[in-house]
Symmetry: D2
Subunit: 155 residues, 4 copies
């Protein structure tokens, strides 16, 4: 399932390297000595978690259905295609990931979700692709990996 999730993220436009860069954005200030290899291991361990894989599979399925011709509630489709900020189920899924990694993951996610650095900005200029869940899930994975590193290095 791990390989499938990584491949799925890549198909939607996000590589593990992109996520590593987000973690660097979050933690680089506190831990300038950290190597990309260590961060990559942390990102991989987050994606290896069952709950995270379920969130990836479920969230990206919704994104793909919204952008397809598959029959769905027209109001929900309109909300998703417009990425309406009052729709919060994507954030709810993201918290489901962050919660597993403690309070530092949650504040990191809130921060990155407002700042939209790196790949998160690109994802938000997506043309016809629907990325409502993608950006929150990617942000949550990065925030969780950053929290792991903070706990390991003593913040």
């Amino acid at each position: 399932m791990y390989d499938k999730c990584v491949k799925l993220l890549e198909e939607r436009g996000v590589s593990l390297d992109d996520i590593v860069d987000l973690v660097l954005y979050l933690q680089g200030k506190y831990h300038p000595e950290i190597l990309k290899d260590e961060i990559l291991l942390s990102v991989q361990s987050v994606i290896a978690k069952r709950e995270v894989q379920h969130a990836i599979l479920t969230g990206l399925m919704i994104d793909k259905i919204a952008e397809s011709e598959i029959d769905m509630d027209p109001q929900l489709r309109a909300i998703l295609l417009a990425d309406e900020s009052l729709y919060g189920i994507d954030e709810v899924l993201a918290y489901g990931i962050c919660n597993l990694y403690g309070s530092i993951a949650l504040t990191n996610y809130g921060f990155i979700d407002r700042e939209k650095p790196g790949i998160l900005e690109k994802i938000n200029q997506h043309g016809s692709q629907c990325n409502v869940f993608l950006d929150d899930i990617v942000g949550a994975i990065a925030a969780s990996a950053a929290s792991k590193i903070a706990h390991h290095h003593g913040k």
Copy 2:
């Protein structure tokens, strides 16, 4: 949107009356004097909330896609059709509802999710219908309405 959500729940087999009965199951012990009409108002006010409506539309869409022929990840479909207990995205959505109503809603939901009284038991013997999200969303609405009543009546 409210009417659509109520209709959608009914199409999937859950009436407002069923949810009222769940609230009675949760709060009747503490408030034997409460009238069904008051509980109904509380249930309706929960469903009137935007975040709750988004959870209903999104969760029930996933249930319907899983039971349809629409192309989706076969592993995710197998998990959903088997209602695997280690899949927790349905609970994550339910917490997204309960969190809005405070800690009493969360413990009520956890309790009802294990006990499966009334309509929740029926939903779980569903034949070919996929009710992975339905039962958690219904349980969360009932738990939230019960929490509202508890706060209002001082218990």
Copy 3:
């Protein structure tokens, strides 16, 4: 810090064995083959987590201050000594623990918090000791250990 937390729980009336029994109550039905030794390891690993230790130290400090003569807001003291059900900060701390162990931990906690089996019932008949935070923290540790076992054993 681990040893201190275990000792603190014992001073307040809860042994590791009591928590093991709660986990058995939660998971015994699903995993009758599980040995107490395995459960004990799971409980110990939960208490070894930094966030859990912080919750224990902080929550039990509040209980002890409430029952002492130390100056505190009289309204808050009255709420704590009466263990008013609308006070939910104890549950908030408990969710802070359960969230780290996923959605199964949260539903288990909600269930156990309503049923109050074993040591949780004893804690609630405490005489002059204030156990507002103790019972929720103990329930959360048991629910988290049960969730670990469920994930490990595939249920």
Copy 4:
């Protein structure tokens, strides 16, 4: 209880006006037309909520005990006086507030907790006063008020 909470916040160095400014920082970009009076009403309605009042009373009590001579676990006191970033019970209490106001409140809180604008920066240069819980509670109240405004104004 409302008046007591406002007074308590003021005694610790935070006025309602300071919180209004935090909300402006969070929402001003999206709603430049909003009047301070409307924001003030939103802040007041958050503080009028029972769960929020309990969080204020409990959190600020811990801050005050930490800075006092009252006997407490020396390790916990050291953590609090140093405002160690790996101590997350203050954030857990803040989430207990934000959760009541939906996902926008949570991301706003995460953002403000990293950026520390206005009064939050001042609180963090506190001299001998212990503000571990104060800054998170104030940030959570502001983030919740901002979420209310966002939902009301349609962003």
